[in-house]
């Protein structure tokens, strides 16, 4: 709130001047009336179709024309020089039209599922779920380089300091389980915006994402910081905790009725509960062997990402609002960034294919897919033509594919089209702002009303853009 600590939620209601969009106020105020806690579950703007999001971030930009966007013209015209408006060249020089060599997909396309979706054998396991997936083939976004595009994907802005989507969602809906953070980013990359991709920016700090581990790191390191005290046993920890709380209880008596001081005491209670509860959630040893196998855990190539996906499911069950799992690394040219050596896509695909397939099956089997949005994709796609060196593809923010599953997205459905080569989105275009708006919509949030007042004006995730793509919703 723009008046910070001196204007708490209760005062906000008294003065109605603390920055919610006026329409949002009605919904949020209702929840606020019963609870001052900024993380308490809040009423959405309207009945939601989904309660939470799992975002599987394929960092670096997987190639849509080699995976889910089938373009026979690429096979037919392979090797031919043709004129394209290359996004990087336009950004660098303003020049449209450049001679580029068509490069056919390196993986074979076939029709799959009852819906007859074309997809390549790059992701054989995910492909088995096409009847549950909703493809958006006409995504387009901002930013030609990784840094800007990654920020845009997460925060809806390339250059400005803005809250990330998870923070907006947490701000809008609160969390269902205060024993865990409401917004976690598993294996977040430190590169390309790093903490800003799960940052709260000007939203209150309670809405910040919690990073578990870092990109490319082992799943075993993906844990909440300072969750335990290795130096002393649990009984001693309890004694210390009681000592702290008894000192606090005595000290706040000098300022009776001070809610902020009470909040300090509450924060310790919550920390204690988190410390007791969270390790169980992160502990995969209680899962059955069948489940572990389903996620590819125990197999060398899929073990790590499998564990991270399984962790995501466990948090999802526990009511965590926004869970991101990143497959990437911390370099300036992250994982899927095959400017040269496109066949390397196969390694990345192998690492994520079975885990994601396992996650989808597991969520479905547990009935969680109903109210969970699974969102898959990268910060952009790749060009249908070869990069200068001939073995890879450059970034393509002008047209690419993402898919969603569950949460009221039409299963076995495909929306939008790129041109005949898969270069630019041409039909039923979906801008990243539109996708953000659509996902918020499924969570029961109106993207135009989910606002926050900062520096004299209202901000939102979708800036002044965004269209709810109703066509893809059940």
């Amino acid at each position: 709130m723009f008046l910070g600590s001196h204007c708490n939620r209760r005062q906000a209601l008294q003065t109605a001047a603390c920055g919610f969009g006026s329409l949002a106020l009605a919904g949020l105020a209702q929840a606020a009336a019963t609870n001052d806690d900024p993380l308490a579950p809040k009423m959405p703007h309207f009945a939601p179709r989904a309660k939470r999001i799992i975002f599987l971030f394929m960092q670096g930009g997987p190639s849509h024309v080699d995976s889910f966007d089938y373009k026979p013209a690429l096979d037919e015209q392979d090797g031919k020089m043709m004129s394209f408006d290359d996004a990087r060249i336009i950004a660098n020089t303003g020049k449209k039209g450049s001679s580029q060599r068509i490069m056919k997909p390196l993986w074979k396309f076939q029709q799959h599922g009852e819906c007859g979706r074309w997809s390549s054998n790059l992701f054989p396991e995910i492909t088995k779920h096409v009847d549950d997936l909703c493809f958006m083939h006409s995504l387009h976004t901002e930013g030609v380089a990784h840094g800007p595009a990654t920020l845009f994907l997460h925060c809806g802005s390339t250059n400005f300091i803005r809250p990330s989507m998870g923070s907006w969602v947490l701000y809008g809906l609160g969390t269902e389980n205060q024993n865990l953070p409401g917004f976690v980013s598993i294996a977040a990359s430190t590169g390309n915006g790093g903490p800003r991709n799960y940052g709260n920016a000007f939203l209150p700090p309670v809405y910040q994402g919690t990073a578990l581990g870092k990109a490319g790191g082992p799943a075993s390191e993906a844990t909440i910081r300072n969750l335990g005290n290795r130096q002393v046993d649990v009984a001693t920890q309890r004694r210390m905790f009681d000592l702290t709380q008894s000192l606090n209880a005595q000290q706040i008596q000098t300022h009776p009725g001070d809610t902020e001081l009470e909040a300090v005491i509450n924060s310790f209670e919550l920390a204690w509960r988190m410390q007791t509860h969270a390790p169980d959630v992160l502990d995969l040893s209680k899962e059955s062997a069948a489940t572990l196998t389903q996620y590819g855990i125990g197999e060398k190539e899929t073990d790590n990402f499998g564990k991270q996906c399984l962790m995501a499911r466990r948090m999802c069950e526990e009511g965590v609002r926004f869970i991101q799992v990143t497959y990437g690394d911390n370099t300036a040219n992250p994982a899927w960034d095959q400017h040269s050596n496109l066949p390397k896509h196969a390694d990345h695909a192998r690492a994520v294919d079975k885990p994601i397939s396992g996650l989808l099956a597991d969520l479905k089997q547990r009935g969680l897919l109903e109210d969970t949005i699974v969102w898959w994709g990268g910060e952009f796609g790749r060009t249908p033509y070869a990069q200068t060196n001939g073995t890879g593809r450059d970034h393509n923010p002008g047209g690419f594919t993402m898919w969603l599953a569950g949460g009221g997205f039409k299963p076995g459905f495909a929306f939008g089209q790129t041109d005949e080569f898969g270069h630019l989105a041409v039909q039923d275009k979906v801008h990243m702002h539109d996708l953000h708006a659509t996902m918020l919509h499924q969570l029961g949030l109106n993207h135009e009303q989910l606002t926050y007042r900062y520096a004299g004006r209202n901000f939102r995730l979708t800036d002044v853009h965004g269209r709810v793509v109703k066509e893809v919703l059940t």
């Binding site: 950004a91 300091i161 590169g191 309670v206 004694r239 924060s267 919550l270 002044v464």
Partner: protein
């Protein structure tokens, strides 16, 4: 205009309003009310059949009266009436009567600049109909209204807003309780309270007061002995003396400088790529020094905007002033932005945001795309200011652009020494280079590889990693040739001097390790060759293209030309592309060589698998090679030593005047590729009373900007700074929105007091210390933080300041207090504190015992304690910090190894200082941490907790543990984390 780009920019910049479709203003319709048209039957038929249905179906949703009514109108454009069409939208005139084909309406339908309708391009025949219609003169039978144009900004009305009003010297109010005030500040406060029938609470007790004033002025806790001395000092001037002593201590600037660093978005690295800015610390020290020396604030302000341009009597002064300008370079810039025109304006925008929020508490950057929606700031003013900053070169542009580091002005004596030293170093570098070169050839010989003189050699016989043309990945038709010698392998390739722009060769090495390599291209020269063959190196640093004149003989060994030294990471990109784009003449490539810059690595990388290890000649060569490698190492060490020993030429971050000084055009909708009228450089109209001098043509305007900021007719800076100081001392500003004095900000609770403080600030020479002293000595400042029941009821937010605010300790105060308690605090001042050799900030761990202000502010790796305790995001102007209470803080205090270790050190120190008096030790630990004695209950609780079985074998250990745990619990306690 680069059409598509404009849209992309619009979408990116799009701060507040959607940029969709530009205006349609035919020149034949200049009059506001064109005569009603009379359509021929044919025209009418055409319109009704081919045009209207399309407009209704695809356009009206966003461009009609109905859309306007429901607040859905986009781009201020109405397409449901002739008037609307003619009046156009936000982007200004777009149709030339003689060139109707260029109409923006058609442009949008054709998906050129704009893309309408947004869901998909209309079929070609529909677009052709529109073209035909426009050609006819766009006959349109519809009548209706033009869109309601937004009113221009009324500056006269805007000046009525309180913050733009000239400063006034207010009358000092009279109060009923004349005994209470210590000075005028108190009279204003008491008058406010009395007007509501209220009274201030009692003064804070001496122990509370000294702790408060210590943290407020120097950010450190008072030692128990200091507290005792103050409590015992009954002289009436005891408090004033204490204040004076604190304000003259060097720690004062460290505390107050940090406040300003929040405003200045100070950081030592950038988010993207985590680049370290190694010279940023100079600005931090400059700010600290400013507060310690109390130079006039108006001068401080000028220096941060234009210090590099100000006259200076000495080189020291010149240096100091210049460092101040680093303020402009602190932004968290996206150096990777590929559109450099965009990047340039983004940098300007960021600077403008920092200047106007920081000094003026104005949200000027809202006016980048359109007139400010709430404040009297027209877009023209934005670009008048932007023009000034656009004349300051901030970045050197490249694929990844770079900020500027310039040599710091130094005294002539030092300058001489530096020059001498640099000459010696240069000579030494020559020696090293020669030795390296010899080492290379000896190594080559020793590895059984032939040296340079045979004209045809195999790639494996050359040092380093050599990718021959035979291994290159070819795109297009390349011909193998052996016509010109010397060459490597079976020959070299050329592009047949044909199909320019379509052929490339990619040389991808298998590098044994990450590191620095010299990259060389081998080619054969000739008169028929290209003079500008583009060769691009893709490395960890990005990509760099070198144009090679292949008519000239290769300079190295008659074989190679150097492409420079490049850093490669084993997992990252690393290859070289030879292309024939844009060339005339044959493009030739023979091989690419990667030579490790470290000769040791070179030797390792060059061992030939085929060499005969027992060859005595080879053995001798190997000895020679080893000796030479050792010699290189020795020389390099010597060079390093020489460099380290000699005087260092100091660098600093700054901006430079652009070569071409010019005004900036208004960017329509903020898009860099859609320029409107020129906005002559200038300042905020609403604050300028017409007395400000114009900016001379031969000046960038930055100096003038500094002068205007500090000018007598600009009431904002003194008000803003007085309010900031008040906020930093009292915990809440008179205007609580300290960075926003616009109409969406809050009005001052005590407008007369604010003007009183601001006018005093100016009249006392813009002295921050003087203002701080006045406030700290006021009785208002010294009040107890416990509200009376009357005040709590009548003024729950304490706007009338009937009592002090209890305040959350900031991250730095917590850290400094923890280090003080453990006895490890190191008060060394200034200097760079980033570990030498750090290139990127990812995963950086700070472990210093210096004051928090000296811990590196790295945007991707803030110290955990900072992150948890609301250290401000160093990418934004932050005049007022968040104050959150969240579980991660509790987890940090309970479990972080850092806190545990500090608690242990504090316990050891306690046990040493008070060896055998448990109660005395409990009292001391409370006083060290909280400043006060424990209450009886606290004492009992603590004593009970530390009880240890004295007969136990590990008694000492247990005792230390218990005491550590007590200290840790006190670190976590409310009274440690708050100041009363």
């Amino acid at each position: 205009m680069i059409l598509k780009q404009a849209v992309r920019q619009a979408a990116r910049v799009g701060l507040c309003v959607v940029a969709v479709l530009a205006g349609f203003v035919p020149c034949w319709a200049e009059d506001a009310a064109p005569p009603a048209p009379r359509l021929t039957a044919e025209q009418s038929d055409f319109f009704e059949k081919k045009i209207r249905p399309v407009l209704v179906k695809y356009c009206y949703e966003c461009h009609s009266q109905e859309a306007q009514t429901s607040n859905q109108l986009k781009a201020g454009l109405l397409l449901d009436s002739r008037e609307g069409l003619l009046a156009g939208g936000d982007s200004g005139p777009a149709l030339e009567s003689d060139q109707p084909a260029d109409s923006l309406l058609l442009d949008a339908l054709r998906y050129e600049t704009f893309k309408m309708p947004p869901k998909g391009k209309l079929p070609a025949d529909v677009i052709a109909n529109f073209e035909a219609w426009v050609k006819m003169g766009a006959p349109d039978p519809r009548s209706g209204q033009a869109p309601v144009k937004p009113q221009g900004i009324d500056l006269q009305a805007g000046r009525q807003h309180w913050s733009y009003q000239p400063l006034r010297t207010p009358q000092i109010p009279t109060v009923k309780n004349g005994n209470w005030p210590e000075g005028n500040i108190d009279r204003f406060i008491l008058a406010g309270l009395e007007a509501k029938g209220l009274q201030p609470v009692a003064d804070a007790d001496r122990v509370t007061l000294i702790r408060r004033v210590y943290f407020d002025l120097i950010g450190l806790p008072p030692a128990p002995e200091t507290i005792d001395a103050f409590v015992a000092d009954s002289r009436p001037e005891a408090y004033a003396l204490l204040v004076e002593q604190l304000m003259s201590s060097p720690q004062f600037g460290e505390r107050w400088g940090r406040h300003w660093l929040d405003v200045a978005r100070y950081a030592e690295s950038l988010t993207l790529r985590g680049f370290i800015m190694p010279e940023a610390w100079r600005y931090r020290d400059y700010v600290i020094e400013h507060f310690n020396t109390d130079r006039p604030f108006d001068q401080f302000l000028r220096e941060q905007v234009a210090g590099d341009l100000l006259p200076a009597a000495t080189s020291d002064e010149k240096a100091r002033q210049s460092i101040g300008t680093a303020f402009l370079v602190m932004g968290n810039t996206n150096l990777e932005e590929q559109d450099k025109t965009q990047l340039r304006m983004d940098v300007v925008d960021e600077q403008l945001d920092a200047i106007t929020k920081g000094f003026l508490a104005q949200t000027v950057t809202c006016a980048r795309c359109h007139d400010h929606k709430f404040d009297p700031i027209p877009t023209r003013d934005y670009y008048a200011l932007a023009g000034i900053l656009r004349n300051a070169k901030t970045l050197e542009h490249a694929n990844v652009s770079k900020w500027l580091e310039l040599p710091l002005p130094v005294e002539p004596e030092l300058e001489n020494k530096l020059r001498q030293h640099e000459t010696v170093v240069a000579e030494m570098q020559q020696q090293v280079k020669a030795a390296q070169s010899l080492a290379k050839s000896l190594t080559a010989a020793a590895s059984g590889k032939v040296s340079v003189n045979i004209d045809v050699v195999a790639a494996k016989d050359l040092p380093g990693i050599v990718v021959d043309d035979a291994q290159a990945k070819k795109v297009g038709d390349w011909k193998l040739s052996q016509s010109v010698r010397p060459y490597i392998g079976a020959g070299y390739l050329h592009d047949l001097d044909g199909e320019k722009g379509t052929k490339t060769l990619t040389f991808q090495p298998d590098l044994p390790k990450s590191g620095l390599y010299e990259v060389r291209l081998a080619y054969t020269a000739g008169g028929n060759r290209a003079m500008d063959a583009p060769v691009t190196v893709f490395s960890a640093d990005g990509e760099k293209t070198v144009l090679i004149n292949q008519q000239l003989p290769p300079p190295i060994d008659g074989r190679f030309v150097s492409l420079g030294q490049h850093r490669f990471e084993q997992t990252g990109q690393g290859f070289v592309i030879v292309a024939n784009e844009g060339t005339k003449g044959h493009v030739v490539a023979d091989a690419v060589q990667f030579l490790p810059a470290d000769p040791g690595d070179l030797a390792a990388a060059s061992v030939s698998p085929t060499a005969d290890k027992n060859d005595p000649k080879l053995e001798a060569a190997q000895r020679a090679s080893q000796q030479q490698v050792a010699e290189v190492k020795r020389l390099e060490k010597e060079l390093q030593k020489l460099k380290a020993q000699g005087p260092q030429r100091p660098l600093f971050m700054s901006v430079q005047e652009e070569a071409k000084l010019e005004d900036c055009a208004i960017h329509i909708r903020g898009t860099v590729h859609n320029l409107g009228a020129i906005a002559p450089r200038g300042f905020l109209s609403v604050v300028s009373q017409g007395t400000t001098a114009a900016i001379p043509n031969n000046q960038s305007g930055r100096r003038e900007l500094g002068d205007w900021l500090a000018s007598a007719d600009n009431p904002l800076p003194p008000r803003v700074m007085a309010n900031r100081i008040w906020h930093w001392l009292l915990g809440s500003g008179l205007v609580r929105t300290v960075d926003n004095f616009g109409t969406t900000g809050e009005a001052p609770s005590h407008p007369e007091l604010l003007d009183y403080l601001a006018t005093r600030f100016v009249s006392e020479g813009w002295s921050a210390k003087s203002l701080i002293r006045q406030i700290v000595l006021s009785r208002t400042y010294q009040l107890s933080s416990v509200a009376s029941p009357e005040l709590a009821k009548a003024d729950p937010e304490n706007r009338l300041l009937g009592h002090a605010y209890r305040r959350r300790q900031e991250a730095e105060c917590l850290l400094d207090a923890i280090l003080t308690t453990s006895g490890t605090l190191d008060l060394q001042a200034g200097g760079s504190t980033i570990k030498p050799g750090t290139n990127a900030d990812y995963g950086y761990q700070s472990a210093l015992t210096r004051r928090a202000v000296y811990w590196p502010v790295l945007r991707n790796s803030l110290p955990e304690l900072f992150e948890v305790f609301d250290f401000p995001d160093p990418s934004m102007v932050f005049g007022r910090r968040n104050s959150s209470t969240v579980a991660p803080q509790a987890l940090f205090l309970m479990n972080s190894p850092f806190v545990q270790e500090q608690a242990r050190l504090a316990a050891v120190r306690l046990l040493r200082d008070v060896p055998d008096n448990e109660t005395g030790r409990v009292d001391l630990v409370f006083r060290r941490l909280l400043g006060r004695f424990p209450t009886a209950t606290e004492r009992t609780t603590a004593l009970k907790y530390v009880e240890t079985d004295a007969s136990a074998a590990d008694f000492k250990q247990q005792q230390t543990q218990r005491w550590s745990q007590l200290v840790q619990a006190l670190f976590a306690s409310v009274d440690f984390r708050y100041v009363d």
